[in-house]
């Protein structure tokens, strides 16, 4: 990783750069002002000096000197050439004046006046504007004193100055012209601010005061003061160096201060927080094991954190630590809760599944029907259940139910509901009556406002007739003679457990031999795919009708597969519970061309109605009249009750009742495996006796004998076989 700059370094470098830039700008601006101010000051000073010096000398003497020099200069034929080619000769013309007493006196006065000022030379000059030259009358200075008559050009030094400085000074030309304007076009006036060049002082700042002007004679005498430019430059440089030093010093001081305060107020606290955070992270593993509280960030003292943002950061970290401590305290509770919930769900699942009959075939000895049921619990256990049981040997109760809610409460409510329904059904009554009682009992004990939808049907095995009632449950699917499943839109009552005193209506539906019944809970039609589309009853019916099921188990498997295909990866939240019943009907056999039906039923008096219904249904089918039916009914009762009462003693056994067409009527055979008993062997009761003498008993069989056309008994293979025949 690239090494990161510290906050302190960043801030210090920022300050250095900024102060450097600021200093430069400041310096540049200040220099410009300084230079201009300085030049002005020098100009003023020079003008003052020249003025003062000129006053020290008598104007008369100055005039005399100027006129004398002018005269000499004018007398020389070509002074410029002569000065360049033969300086000695040229200067010799002025020798006389230079050595005169007047000249020496004026020179000394001027020089004396000059000395206390900063001016290097005080020159008394003559300018010849028409020739752009001038001559020194005298040079009042202490070094390299120029002789009287020394020639100089005005033009040359200006250009030279610019070239010497290496600058293409845009204003140089106009500057020169300005100067020229002063003593060229309008000579005789004071002027200031031009740089001239002399071999002794190099660049020299020169100001001039017109002392004696006589345009008629062409005399323009000036007193000029020179200040070497070098001196000004040196002052500027010194000034710059001073300013630079001061600003550097200031920068260093500021940097030191800022760096110290950055270190103390920002860098140190950040480092402290960061190291604590590291420690906090390192101790995570340890804390997770020990659940110890930490007080790492609490040590961050407010006085240490002067910067508001850092103070806020420390507050956040402290509250995070508090949260973490309280989280760790809660962690154990949470873990325990999780475990408990998971166990609860486990228990709920076990309660739910263990309650349901799950051994198939459930009735291996019953040929009249076949059934299969399954419950596939969802992740969260619901309260679905199914149930089926024989109420008696001719009645099969079928239950499909769905408890509201999930988890343990639903599982317990399901247990209660299931046993209530089962117990109540076994006591007899129609499904509607049963549901009324179950509902009332559930309402009495229902603390959790739970309810259960129930479809309860009782199949009369011998006839295929189902009496059913629905407490808010899904429509059953019926497969009838048309060979297709269709929903039976039955009338619903309210779900059980919701409200006391609800009535439930019975309805009857007949399954022909080969008919089928499919029950399910809402988990099937309400299975959803990833797009939240419901499976729906249409898809369910399609799956039922398109399947190639050969038995009830296949039927359910087929629907399961269809649902699974439909939902794909989507998680299901409801149990899917189904029950499939295939009704084959009472064993139907062709026996010598005569139709015959059999019913195997427990020989107990309670089953009398079932037996009578079974026989009655057959007789009706054969066109037996009401009166004859009644007579046969009585006979069936007498014989069946006899078997129920005596054949098996105190225990209970089966009786097989077979009805068949016979001799222009019907033959009914009763077969039991009880104690041998031939009713025909019994002597008839004396019906001529008076009431007081009459014996109670034997009357029933006597009635049968009298009312039937034939009655036969035989004992075969340890079975009593009694047949009665009635013509109609």
């Amino acid at each position: 990783m690239k090494k990161k700059t510290s906050i302190k370094q960043a801030i210090v470098s920022l300050i250095v750069v900024v102060s450097l830039l600021l200093s430069l700008v400041f310096l540049a601006v200040a220099t410009v002002f300084f230079v201009s101010e300085l030049t002005e000051t020098y100009s003023d000073m020079e003008m003052a000096v020249t003025g003062a010096c000129a006053e020290a000398v008598s104007p008369k003497e100055l005039k005399q000197l100027a006129e004398a020099c002018n005269e000499i200069y004018c007398s020389i034929e070509d002074p410029e050439t002569e000065f360049e080619t033969d300086r000695e000769t040229y200067l010799s013309h002025f020798k006389e004046i230079q050595e005169s007493d007047l000249y020496k006196k004026v020179w000394q006065t001027l020089n004396a006046e000059r000395r206390p000022t900063g001016v290097t030379a005080l020159d008394y000059v003559l300018i010849f504007p028409d020739q752009d030259v001038g001559i020194y009358i005298m040079d009042a200075s202490d070094v390299n004193v120029l002789p009287c008559g020394e020639l100089f050009t005005v033009q040359q030094p200006v250009y030279y100055t610019c070239q010497n400085l290496g600058i293409d000074l845009p204003g140089a030309d106009s500057f020169y012209r300005k100067s020229l304007a002063i003593y060229g076009e309008e000579p005789g006036r004071d002027f200031d601010g031009f740089i001239s060049y002399s071999t002794t002082y190099h660049e020299v700042w020169t100001d001039g005061r017109a002392l004696y002007v006589e345009p008629a004679k062409g005399i323009y005498a000036y007193m000029m003061a020179d200040i070497p430019v070098n001196e000004v430059q040196i002052r500027v440089v010194i000034y710059i160096v001073e300013v630079a030093l001061v600003s550097a010093l200031l920068t260093i001081i500021v940097c030191l201060f800022v760096s110290r305060s950055t270190q103390a107020d920002i860098a140190d606290p950040i480092r402290e927080i960061s190291s604590k955070a590291d420690y906090f992270v390192e101790s995570y593993e340890l804390r997770a094991d020990t659940r110890d509280e930490t007080h790492i960030f609490e040590e961050l003292k407010a006085e240490m954190l002067k910067v508001r943002e850092l103070y806020e950061l420390s507050r956040s970290l402290q509250s995070m630590e508090l949260e973490m401590n309280s989280y760790l305290r809660d962690l154990d509770t949470m873990i325990n809760d999780r475990a408990r919930i998971s166990t609860e769900l486990d228990i709920a699942t076990r309660i739910q599944t263990s309650m349901l009959p799950s051994v198939f075939p459930a009735f291996p000895d019953r040929q009249e029907f076949d059934l299969f049921a399954s419950m596939k619990p969802a992740k969260e256990v619901g309260g679905d259940f199914y149930d089926f049981f024989l109420v008696d040997s001719d009645h099969l109760a079928l239950v499909m139910a769905d408890v509201s809610g999930k988890g343990i409460p639903a599982a317990l409510f399901m247990t209660v509901s299931r046993s209530m329904i089962r117990n109540r059904t076994e006591r007899g009554g129609s499904p509607g009556e049963i549901l009324v009682d179950v509902n009332d009992s559930l309402c009495e004990q229902n603390m959790g406002d739970m309810f259960v939808t129930v479809w309860l049907g009782i199949l009369t095995i011998s006839t295929g007739e189902i009496v059913a009632s629905s407490a808010g449950h899904e429509y059953p699917a019926i497969y009838g003679n048309d060979g297709r499943y269709a929903l039976l839109k039955d009338k619903h009552g309210l779900a059980c457990g919701a409200m006391k005193g609800v009535r439930y209506r019975d309805y009857t539906v007949s399954l022909p031999p080969g008919g089928r019944l499919f029950l399910y809970t809402d988990g099937v039609p309400e299975a959803t795919d990833l797009q939240e589309t419901l499976f729906g009853t249409d898809r369910m019916l399609e799956a039922l009708n398109n399947g190639t099921a050969e038995n009830p188990a296949d039927t359910i498997e087929g629907v399961h597969e269809a649902v699974d295909r439909f939902v794909g990866q989507a998680e299901q939240f409801d149990d899917t519970t189904m029950l499939s019943l295939w009704y084959r009907g009472v064993t139907d056999q062709e026996d010598g061309g005569k139709r015959m039906k059999e019913l195997r039923i427990e020989a107990k008096v309670d089953n009398l109605a079932a037996v009578q219904d079974f026989v009655g249904a057959f007789l009706e089918e054969k066109g037996c009249g009401m009166k004859t039916q009644l007579t046969i009914d009585v006979a069936v009762e007498e014989i069946f009750v006899n078997i129920a009462s005596y054949a098996y003693g105190d225990s209970v056994g089966d009786a097989l009742i077979r009805v068949e067409e016979a001799e222009g009527g019907a033959a009914i055979t009763f077969i039991d495996s009880g104690v041998p008993y031939d009713p025909l062997a019994k002597e008839d009761p004396d019906i001529t006796l008076s009431a007081a003498e009459r014996q109670i008993g034997g009357l029933g069989i006597f009635m049968v004998k009298k009312s039937m056309d034939d009655m036969r008994y035989e004992r075969r293979d340890n079975h009593n076989i009694l047949t009665i025949v009635k013509k109609f």
Binding site: D606, T631, E638, V641, S690, A691, R694, L699, G700
Partner: protein, 101 residues
């Protein structure tokens, strides 16, 4: 099976509706056992009795015996053809007083 009783002093009229068979006759037997004390005239209206088996006959016989023992009378009224036939087959016509329209 429905039993409608109408008691007027020592007179008791009982109307039987439905089937009087093995399962329902204990009910009638119980009713009579509770109500016959002090009755001198017992009338059974069987106009809406659809069915009677030997169990029912036993109850009727037993009622007749009780009435005999307390010197009362017992009458069966409005027996249908079917019920009448059973009475005839079993010789009950001889021991019961049957009044038909």
């Amino acid at each position: 099976m429905q039993i409608e009783k109408n008691k007027d002093g020592s007179n008791l009229e009982v109307k039987l509706i439905g089937r009087l068979d093995t399962t329902t006759s204990p009910e009638l037997e119980k009713e009579l056992g509770e109500n016959l004390a002090g009755i001198t005239r017992l009338v059974f209206d069987v106009s809406e009795l659809a069915y009677i088996s030997s169990a029912g006959l036993r109850v009727l016989l037993s009622a007749q015996k009780t009435m005999n023992s307390q010197s009362g009378s017992m009458v069966i009224r409005h027996a249908s053809d079917e019920i009448m036939e059973i009475f005839e087959v079993t010789g009950f016509t001889d021991i019961l007083t049957i009044e038909n329209d």
